[in-house]
Symmetry: C2
Subunit: 223 residues, 2 copies
């Protein structure tokens, strides 16, 4: 009996204290709680789609009372939109650092897929969320993801200027290629996220060969 949990002990899902007893300011503490809600939602979203998880589930998973939610977000949709911009913020950080990586220019085909795999391993929940909600059941979230992807595509079209071959293509063709590349990579990410971890290396290899075929198309392309 002495080892049984007392029912009054609420299960806590994170280390954020309900009542601060340490050196955090009120604002810092609030920011931590907000993060706890976002993390909790992301955890639930790896199993279910966004429009099927409830506000109460999120607060329960975060170790808060349901009403605490309203101190941080108006509703679930607002939290969802924040997850979108959070996911793309880290994704674009990754793209920025990739841009200054000389190995990527030397071996776009293999390195692109490798960079994607690495990012996926580090931010799996974010990528799964994007793959799931890209065509999901919530219009505003679909729209937010589409907007971010369009921006990434635009930037990528510019990046392609470093390749002598593509350098002289008209803007329209560069955009065409950037869009194909983004769609392809999105598909690869979606496949990897749904696959067993053991199957991911195989998907990566296949994707590299497919990307090679596309690059052959690029070298033979008449703009």
């Amino acid at each position: 009996l002495s080892s049984t949990r007392r029912p009054s002990e609420r299960r806590r899902e994170d280390s954020r204290p309900r009542r601060p007893h340490h050196d955090l300011s009120r604002d810092e503490h609030k920011a931590l709680t907000r993060q706890a809600l976002l993390r909790a939602a992301l955890r639930l979203l790896s199993k279910n789609s966004f429009d099927s998880i409830s506000l109460r589930e999120v607060t329960r998973e975060a170790g808060l009372s349901p009403t605490a939610f309203y101190r941080h977000f108006d509703d679930m949709e607002e939290l969802g939109l924040e997850l979108v911009s959070e996911a793309f913020s880290t994704l674009r950080d990754m793209l920025r650092s990739a841009r200054s990586d000389p190995s990527l220019v030397e071996d776009v085909i293999n390195r692109s897929v490798e960079v994607l795999s690495d990012h996926l391993e580090a931010h799996e929940a974010h990528i799964r969320f994007i793959a799931r909600e890209r065509h999901g059941g919530v219009r505003r979230i679909r729209a937010a993801i589409a907007k971010e992807l369009a921006e990434v595509t635009g930037e990528l079209a510019g990046d392609f200027a470093v390749f002598p071959l593509i350098n002289k293509w008209p803007d329209e063709d560069r955009f065409l290629l950037a869009n194909l590349f983004v769609e392809f990579m999105t598909g690869v990410a979606g496949a990897m996220v749904d696959a067993e971890p053991a199957a991911r290396a195989g998907i990566a290899e296949r994707s590299q060969r497919q990307l090679r075929l596309i690059v052959v198309g690029v070298t033979g392309w008449k703009p």
Copy 2:
């Protein structure tokens, strides 16, 4: 007052009579009701994702009492799986007739996208359902869609034998190309389904140009 609806008149969503008074057999009537449930679910699924619609919503939309559902399906997941096989049944009918269409061999690039557009116009709800649930929140439905897509990919790899260029490729490379093609087309379908109808022609044109780039890659590919 005389024009107001009496509250006892339940809104009916289809023409299937609650109590048959005509020449349908019991089995025929049951099959119609089953169809009414599938149709109703598909209608709801164009707005929301599968794991957020309820059994009661479906029966309400079909004009039935909630309990009638259990005469046709054990639970919602069984209905969802039936929608998957229904969607792929019509899709594969389409692919079968496309296979015997000489215009497709003459002009794969443009005709493939046109055939997809036509199918999408005729079966939009089915295609949207597939695009939405392919990476959606219900494991068994994702698995069912993945299985169907894998079979379609396998058949397509065989179809490619009609092209002299690909004819001599090893099986592995043909599968690689079929997979790329299916992923590409799936992406196009997803984009079209999410886009305003007015924007679809533009997506079709862009996809044709991208497909042309891929075909350039095919012509230059060393197996």
